[in-house]
């Protein structure tokens, strides 16, 4: 019987299809700096964006699924909430700042979701906050924008693309399990990016910068420390 596909053909076709995915790249991709690891991250990013429905919601759990929740990273950054503001700047028509009271007056979303830590553990909590899309719409994102970068007052930076930024479950959370966000979990405001690993949800937020440029976040950024930028996994 004639073989449909030989092993040699399968190997060649497989390698060629990898090349095909790499060639079919969208306009904006994070830099690879020639690293094979960063190229694999980009393949995953392109594949997720091409194959997964863009508006799919992560599973939401019930109150009885809530678990204890370790706080890691910076756990003791403190700021005077009366003086604290969230500034929204960059490629927006109306740059502005919000106090915590301003944010609490905006439409809120409450969701019980799973936090998936890159270390391997996970935890479920109830988060309440303002959808990032509400803030972005209030500020008026300009057409050239590609990313929303967040900056924390413990001096970390991170960015997500507009697809995740406008996702309904991407919220700026000021409450956890029905109480004000505790200091170890990023008081007064943290980002929740539910379709990516936990480290994309920056704590201790202070600035949101809408930008068209990919920004590694410098010394404390993900890429400089060998961490993937897109972690839908």
């Amino acid at each position: 019987m004639k073989k449909l596909v030989t092993r040699r053909q399968a190997i060649v076709a497989g390698l060629a299809s990898m090349g095909g995915v790499a060639l079919a790249r969208p306009k904006a991709l994070p830099p690879t700096y020639g690293s094979l690891l960063r190229m694999a991250d980009d393949v995953t990013y392109v594949a997720h964006r091409a194959l997964l429905p863009q508006d799919a919601l992560v599973r939401e759990y019930s109150e009885r699924d809530i678990t204890p929740f370790p706080a890691i990273g910076t756990t003791n950054a403190r700021v005077d909430v009366a003086d604290w503001r969230l500034s929204v700047e960059g490629l927006v028509a109306r740059p502005q700042t919000f106090s915590l009271a301003d944010l609490k007056r905006l439409p809120a979303r409450t969701q019980i979701t799973r936090h998936t830590c890159e270390e391997g553990w996970s935890a479920i909590a109830k988060w309440t906050g303002v959808p990032l899309s509400v803030i972005l719409d209030a500020a008026g994102v300009l057409p050239s924008a590609q990313y929303v970068k967040s900056h924390s007052y413990d001096d970390y930076e991170n960015s997500i693309d507009l697809l995740d930024a406008f996702h309904p479950q991407t919220i700026l959370a000021y409450a956890m399990n029905g109480r004000d966000l505790p200091v170890p979990h990023g008081a007064p405001l943290r980002l929740r990016v539910e379709r990516q690993l936990g480290y994309k949800g920056l704590k201790y937020l202070t600035r949101l910068i809408v930008t068209s440029e990919f920004d590694d976040g410098g010394q404390k950024g993900d890429l400089a420390n060998g961490w993937a930028w897109y972690t839908g996994i």
Binding site: L37, H48, R59, T116, C117, E118, N225
Partner: protein
């Protein structure tokens, strides 16, 4: 595959506790606590807040795991689909090979390998948003992680057994048979 095994262990060392259910962490009971040390140090717990000075090196482990997975899974899936369509597996596993050899290969190709891919995907927040059935099928993200671990153990045992038998039955002849044919 060596890269997948190696980086799998690197990632496991960041959190060598396995759970059953949707979620699990240091503050919840483990199903199994593996007797391997963690590859980072932390400075103890302050309530539910963890302090630490040396960060784990999981980042590259995860990226290399996915690099290897893309290279293995895409051509591998094409090979399996072609093998099924062309009758290659039916002929080999059910007629040409011995009963136990054929059954073992069928188990690896049609059960263990698809399951290890699916349990891997069931740990992904983005993929399970699109396909929540993966969470239901395996009993949650942490159950999927635990099953992924035991499938890894089974496949490593299979490869070790396979390589030992290849060497014992004539290494050079078998290598030629596997790649370019006799």
């Amino acid at each position: 595959m060596a890269a997948l095994v190696y980086t799998g262990v690197v990632m496991l060392m960041a959190h060598p506790r396995l759970y059953w259910g949707q979620a699990g962490n240091d503050l919840t009971p483990a199903l199994i606590e593996l007797p391997i040390s963690r590859n980072y140090h932390h400075g103890g717990w302050d309530g539910e807040a963890r302090t630490y000075n040396i960060f784990n090196k999981n980042g590259w482990g995860r990226s290399l795991h996915f690099l290897a997975a893309w290279i293995l899974v895409v051509p591998g899936a094409l090979y399996v689909l072609a093998g099924v369509a062309g009758g290659h597996f039916r002929r080999r596993f059910w007629r040409e090979y011995g009963v136990w050899q054929g059954r073992t290969y069928a188990l690896v190709v049609f059960v263990l390998t698809p399951l290890i891919i699916l349990t891997g995907l069931a740990m992904s927040p983005a993929v399970t948003a699109a396909a929540p059935v993966l969470l239901s099928a395996f009993g949650g993200q942490q159950s999927a992680r635990t099953i992924h671990f035991f499938l890894f153990v089974a496949l490593v045992l299979f490869v070790v057994g396979h390589v030992v038998m290849v060497i014992r039955s004539g290494f050079v002849r078998q290598m030629r048979g596997m790649t370019f044919g006799e």
